[in-house]
Symmetry: D2
Subunit: 341 residues, 4 copies
């Protein structure tokens, strides 16, 4: 039984606490939060669970094996580093840190101490995204052409990160997992509509070494909640709509076929193919359940988890570069490689 | 009765011929097309209507008052210029020309000869877009924040223009009409997935003098047809879904409210407002019917039509700049002003 | 070339005239309508086509081979009978007549004179309904369990027939074609919300010899247009949504599986099966085009068309019985068999 | 603090336990269930809560003030009667009992002992249904014309009641609350598709003293989950879609307008009115939270709750009559009045 301390009981923390509680491999021994009301909720819901306003109490508790960090991004590095330094395994909410330099230091620290460092790239553990990866690997889509994601809703303006860090991070984690291919450069644009605040709407174009292109639209000020991704390939195309409760993924047997033009070599003739649509049954397993298993299993086996520190670092590096590109109104910037920046 | 000759009976031409035939102010005297099969369709559908494979036959016909050009973009300038030179009024399919220099020359020629030059920016004549303009002008949305449009489908790859010139042109015409404000700069990205061909997917970000931002996603290789625009404002936000047969426009009384933070001046407190949704009844009038009226009425009055040559020129200038930005992978470029480039 | 006279140029007539004009097997020689404005539209759209306010002019015209009747239901019998008596083949708008006795007389007359009598059960000629029939015949759905249709919208209140005769007629024609099985009895309920008028909302339950059940909801006073049919079977279930422009048919690999209960014989254990969904590509051919072909082909071959007089009669007999059941507030009534009532 | 014992921790029980736990007016002291696994879940989720396989243990516990019955319908009466006999207030899952005679006896017993008897007609406590009632009472819809509900999905076949008792019960509770008017008669049809089992698909038509008509379609064997109700009125019509997470209610300013016909008195002219659509913001309060408040408040005040025993009885009487009508394949049956059958 891995004993877990959870820091942060805001939006996502309650889901983490519930899943770590219900797993038969882990046990939540305590929750830390600066907000007393939230701690009262913990106590009402989980009588007997230790609560504290001081995260260090959990980090230093010899009874705790692992720390889960679910606090604002700007605090991730300090809390995770303190936990690693105290010999705890660490799972950090996405994005792993505020800078790639911080992420690199956490990776180094975890390796030095032979501890498990994992980032909560939740979508990687959803049945839908795993199905998409399977479809891509099996060649069902043919050669991937483009990834286009719209991830918008009203709300959740954050104070310490712009909308890219809050929402685009999901798409970057999905792309990393599904494509196993890294973007070479990014062009980003965006705008703030609250005086003195950070960007609440943003658009990212990611360029890859081949002709694959990815685009991400994130927005905190939209009238409806949309979570829709198009993934186009040379053989088929799919739509992943995460707001749908069923039929989350629809695969379209549609595309183009290039034929030699009978009228001469100067132009290609493009034929269109419109075939069936197919929506595979997707299991309704909660992603966090699988993620908790992965964390526990990685700790036990002393192996790297699927979404390890490096996965988190690579995403942060794109976030940094995109933010810089956005400041330059879309100027394309190369994305650095390598674990250590 | 204005006597009209229509050049081009491909995708859009039949709609133009039908509308010019059914108007009580205009009459179609002839149709020109290089394709004999299409001319046979004209004759079956409109017994007695003159058909020809030579556009000059119509252009030079003294019985013709006005020429409608509905051919591929690369031919617009030559045909329109020949028609103006022959003393005919001209309506040109969108985009008006392949270059802003060509558009300027058509404007000059039309002015010199006191002829009506109009561009077929169809959406400007739809009930939905006119309603949106009314909502913006009346202040229903408050200060406009952003325009975000997705205009994608499978098909209609063109040989002489990329997807921006084919699809984004609609959004640029809508923006021009609704906002009465011109973009200052554009950043565009895109990709071609057909070897040696032009871009089939593209993303444009338009920057305006204030904090308004517009983004357009166009794609010829999408599994479904989407025509959806979000228009966000400080008071309300709307969604315009042109694929819907009813409830094309939904207005959301939602937004944010900035309050002083009680916890100190260092950060703003953002409250969310979620109110009613409202879908105004939209008349089902065909846009082309209104457009034909406008063309006829402008000719009779000797006045400039709503979508005159200059409206066409301004759109072409953005298309040119966006194409250049796309070649530079998103580098922001200023958009030139003034009628003559 | 079969020469056709069309009587009635109201809602449906224009579609008939267009399709009979564009077919290379038929030619429209004239159109009759009591409304002069409509005849003016005919002349504008088809210069040279004969128009008349007197249907008998077409019926008696020796140049006419076949008559198409697209007038209000109450006039079908007289016009069709006159046409048959004049030696013309006849296609009648649905429902074929106002009573089954009238339908029987038309069938008799057509047989006596060796003329083709066909009813315009349009949906039988749609690609979607033909695909559904194919799925049922191939056993894709297993044993059919139920058919449930909602066919509602605002409008088209008729004066001579209630909503069952106007809308449920489509479902009865589809059921007849898809199932090749006739209902044994019907229970119907309904209501009128306009004083002194006929029912504008109605519900029909059709009982079949086995446990198959069909239900039809028709309504002229609904806020939205819905055309949705569920067809449940022992192996799979489908949804046919005719308002959708693509993905009209969705087949769900879902159902129940009856297992012996381990806890004793007193109750069955029911397991649920939730598999993939599949939307076959449906050709976008216009139904009337195929229907015109069938009419022409039946005339030439001297054979009965797919939707012959008897098909029309069987539907009318259900409509009659349902109307009688509705008057008795749902009392189940047996449906008579045999061609001659 | 009202101390509550909950009997039944199957599908609905966990929601009841959660809401009674989180209310500051009630406290759950124990849960009874015949299934040991479920009790283990209770203990894991609520450490320290009393669990038992014997409901009488809770019923007889002097520390318990009120009993909540969330077991199969066939057991409702015995458990509720035992609880009342033991002097406990009672909240019973819908439908209140298996027969109207049983319901009458519970009402009598509760009145005799001055105890609160309440039925869990959950939808009455939803924000959406309360908004609909408000719209009807305010005359927004004008004179109500019809209520049409589709409540279908795959699953939850029950062994002791047919689909009417499981699903139509919700609509009957909604109708009772929204209309404050009782149906006079019912015609019902249905079918079983599992040998020897009860009906899994059913259709009810309810006749009211005036021209209002209600229809309910319930189905356990449908490929998709639909929860959609149309409510038509003389002024406006609404659609209530409970599956939607937002915009659950859409109000259409549409309808018909009867005008005198200029062509004589023999027929009315019907004009159609198509206006705006409006979706009022609906609070996302959980219905059970409000229901728990009502139960607690009624107990404290010694008053009848909104959904009291009589409300439950009236619904059961319709369910009984509908089941009888269904056995007679749609024969209309009058619904008895009065509290005691």
């Amino acid at each position: 039984m891995i004993k877990v301390g959870v820091i942060g009981f805001g939006y996502w923390g309650p889901n983490l606490v519930r899943n770590f509680s219900e797993s038969d491999q882990t046990q939540v021994v305590g929750v830390a939060d600066v907000n007393a009301k939230r701690l009262a909720v913990v106590q009402a819901r989980y009588p007997g669970m230790q609560t504290t306003s001081d995260p260090l109490e959990l980090i230093k508790d010899p009874n705790v094996d692992a720390i889960v960090v679910a606090t604002p991004v700007s605090t991730h590095f300090d809390l995770a580093m303190a936990a690693l330094a105290a010999g705890k395994h660490v799972l950090v909410e996405k994005p792993i840190t505020s800078t790639s330099e911080q992420a690199s230091r956490l990776i180094e620290e975890a390796e030095k101490r032979k501890l498990t460092l994992m980032v909560d790239h939740t979508f990687v553990y959803t049945s839908a995204v795993r199905k998409i990866r399977e479809l891509v690997l099996n060649g069902e889509l043919g050669q991937p052409y483009y990834y286009d994601s719209v991830r918008i809703n009203l709300g959740a303006f954050q104070h310490d990160v712009n909308v890219i860090w809050d929402l685009a991070v999901h798409d970057l984690a999905i792309l990393q997992y599904v494509l196993r291919n890294e973007p070479a450069a990014v062009s980003a644009t965006g705008m703030s509509h609250v005086a003195g605040q950070i960007e609440n709407i943003a658009y990212l174009t990611l360029f890859f070494p081949d002709s694959f292109i990815a685009h991400i639209h994130v927005n905190w000020l939209a009238p409806v909640k949309i979570r829709r991704t198009l993934l186009g390939g040379s053989r088929r195309m799919l739509i992943y709509d995460d707001v749908e409760s069923s039929e989350k993924i629809k695969i379209y047997d549609k595309g183009i076929h290039i034929a030699d033009s009978p009228e001469g070599a100067h132009q290609l003739r493009i034929n269109y193919r419109a075939g069936d649509m197919w929506a595979p049954h997707i299991e309704a397993t909660e992603a966090l359940k699988l993620e908790v298993q992965e964390f526990a299993s990685a700790i036990k086996a002393g192996r790297k988890p699927l979404t390890d520190g490096e996965a988190g670092l690579k995403v942060v590096r794109i976030l940094e570069t995109a933010t810089e590109s956005m400041a330059r109104r879309g100027q394309v910037l190369e994305i650095a490689k390598g674990v250590l920046a």
